[in-house]
């Protein structure tokens, strides 16, 4: 629950909302934040932050081990902080891909044009990868921007995969199942998202991982004390200035998950 920032009370938590629940102003702020970060070529910019996950070397992301959820929570937290440095109050939204209906990239990310201009959430620029590193992974010409081929490489994960994950009794069981359909969604989106070296350059990567982070939060709420193994609690999440233990409380990181937020007009009479 949010708290008021006035007086001695703690500052308000920021709400991460469902993509489809963003107001026009919130969506506009999200687009402005990505656009601003695209234009920065130092370590505050999109290329630097997206490159932490994959290329350029070192590829720092953690997959297929118990650091998967903590590492990506730290990653999203620091990316969101960088976004807020550009546009005050902006938050990452989550892609609610089990909401029902046919699987699809959210409109906010799928529309090529917005108000007559290119939608910055439809494609991200791929920059900052040394040519010799790209050549070694033998993927043909390096793309200038990200691309997607939704549904061409895999069917979408089933809702039962989510139910199974949320019912998992332990952290290791949960992370196994949630990473399973996480991998499936990456492959379903296809194109740039389908492989680690460039996946984070696609703007929808951040909405996908926000959903994964939210699911971990929901699972945590239902499983108090369901922490990662004690043996990794003090592990540094390179290159971030955080340990696994630092990621366990999203409220300590200043955010929570909501479906939407409607600000009420009016005043004291």
């Amino acid at each position: 629950m949010a708290t008021n920032g006035a007086g001695t009370q703690p500052p308000a938590l920021r709400n991460r909302k469902r993509v489809d629940g963003l107001s026009p102003d919130e969506l506009s702020a999200l687009r402005r934040a990505f656009t601003a970060m695209y234009d920065i070529d130092d370590d505050r910019g999109f290329a630097y932050l997206a490159g932490i996950h994959g290329l350029p070397l070192p590829i720092s992301c953690q997959h297929h081990n118990p650091l998967f959820l903590p590492w990506h929570r730290a990653y999203l937290y620091l990316f969101e902080e960088a976004m807020q440095d550009q546009v005050a109050g902006v938050t990452l939204p989550w892609w609610d891909y089990f909401a029902g209906g046919d699987p699809a990239i959210p409109d906010a990310y799928a529309q090529e044009q917005v108000d007559g201009a290119a939608n910055p959430l439809a494609h991200g620029p791929v920059r900052g990868i040394p040519q010799e590193q790209w050549d070694r992974i033998e993927r043909g010409p390096m793309p200038d921007v990200t691309s997607r081929t939704p549904g061409d490489l895999a069917p979408f994960p089933d809702r039962s995969d989510l139910d199974q994950a949320l019912a998992a009794p332990t952290f290791l069981d949960f992370t196994n199942f949630v990473e399973g359909f996480h991998d499936n969604v990456h492959v379903w989106v296809g194109g740039t998202m389908s492989e680690i070296p460039v996946a984070a350059f696609d703007p929808v990567f951040w909405a996908h991982h926000c959903m994964i982070d939210r699911l971990w939060y929901l699972w945590q709420l239902a499983h108090p004390g369901g922490d990662p193994p004690r043996s990794i609690m003090g592990r540094a999440l390179q290159p971030f200035p955080m340990t696994v233990a630092d990621t366990l409380s999203i409220n300590a990181l200043g955010y929570e998950y909501a479906a939407a937020e409607v600000v009420m007009a009016g005043g004291v009479r």
Binding site: P56, Q62, W134, I137, G180, H186, S194, E195, P197, Q238
Partner: protein, 150 residues
Amino acid sequence: MSARFLSAPLPLGGVSRGFRRADLVFHGLDHSGPSYEVRIFFNRPDADANTPRTAGDGYVRSFYMFGHGGCAGQPGHCDVPETRRPFDLRPPHQLTPATRWVTVTDAARRAVEGGELRVTLVPVVTSPAGAKDEDVDVMALRQVSLVTYD
């Protein structure tokens, strides 16, 4: 087509019929290369990438491995050390082979009732690099187990 895994017939005599959950556990999955799908078939030793993904054809389910995408470093950069020195406090190598499990309870019950289980795993590379990976053992599995929970 990438190299398949075909199990020998699993001895099911010691598996009670009343289990509430059954997992297939995959030990030592490689994730250093392209992303790939693994299609699981029960009692369908001839299954391949062209076999329909229907229960009638022995298909159980799939899982996906999000691949590291190959080595962008110089030779040896992505080699996973076989041993660790006692005072090597660095994190484990990022490409340490993975363990993944998938739940196959209903299919396992049917197999136990039938008294026989052979598992066929058909990997299908899902990345643009797949075409050049023909016949490569992308999974590099060390072991597959059926684990049941009463």
